[in-house]
Amino acid sequence: MFYRRLFDFPTRGLGSSFRELDRLQRQMEQWQGALSRGAFPMPSAGVFPLTNVTENNDSYYVRAELPGIKSDELDIQVTAKGISISGERKIPVEGNNVKYHRREREAGKFSRLINLPDDIDVNKVDAKLENGVLTMTIPKAEKTKPRQITVK
């Protein structure tokens, strides 16, 4: 089972096996943590929305799952070192005579501040909301980008 998950992973590129190991490790930590301080899954800031931050040489990428939220209901602000995402998720009332079987989706306000490790280029931040997923591309400030040094 473990081997299958490790190697047979056509959709993700190289390095996926490491990510898989990471995931496994995190899960182990979760279980350990769950034993000692009650069930608390993935390490998180405890603020909605859950956010993934990644980087490459040029940019930071901030991603969050915000299903059912329109782009005009989202307020994104950028400071020199971080971004803030806030808004309100509205779930309209579905008539008076409906009877609920399940009600798991939540509505309400949210606001979250994410500090990035280094300075960013405030003017070139790009945000797009697609299929309920927010993707922000935040270029790093010129001085913080890694530079290739040629050895003569």
Binding site: R4, L50, V53, L66, G68, G95, V98, Y100, V133
Partner: protein, 135 residues
């Protein structure tokens, strides 16, 4: 729902499915959050499926079992390194047993902004009728 304006959304980590029966591809599988409600005419299901496109969503109704499967393409590119990972990406899968008889020809599914709205009209004989009590 008048107090919803003041309420803040609480973080709810994605629920991983522990043992999906017919898992053929490796990867993580999550249970989407849903609202299900009905009125006299129809049953409506709303499901949060962030990252799922219409092509990657399969809705299957067989007998009385409704199955939702949503594939999510990994949006991270290969040259990106993780800094903070709070949620994972995976497939969505959930199955429901429907008690009412559904008119299969009139099912309507609509996926916008990562939310699926599935309308399942009840067939005529399943609609409630008021029973007159004779005295």
């Amino acid at each position: 729902m008048t107090d919803s304006k003041a309420k803040e959304i609480q973080v709810k980590p994605k629920q991983e499915v522990t043992s999906p029966a017919e898992q053929t591809k490796p990867g993580v599988v999550f249970t989407p959050s849903v609202d299900i409600f009905e009125n006299d005419r129809e049953l409506t299901l709303l499901a949060d499926l962030p990252g799922v496109t219409a092509e990657n969503l399969t809705i299957d109704l067989r007998e009385n079992t409704l199955t939702l499967t949503g594939e999510v393409e990994p949006f991270e590119r290969a040259n990106e390194e993780d800094i903070l990972i709070e949620y994972e990406i995976g497939k969505y899968y959930r199955q429901f047993s429907l008690s009412n008889v559904i008119d299969q020809s009139k099912i309507n599914a609509n996926l916008t902004d990562g939310v699926l709205r599935l309308t399942l009209p009840k067939v005529e004989e399943a609609k409630p009728r008021k029973i007159e009590v004779r005295t």
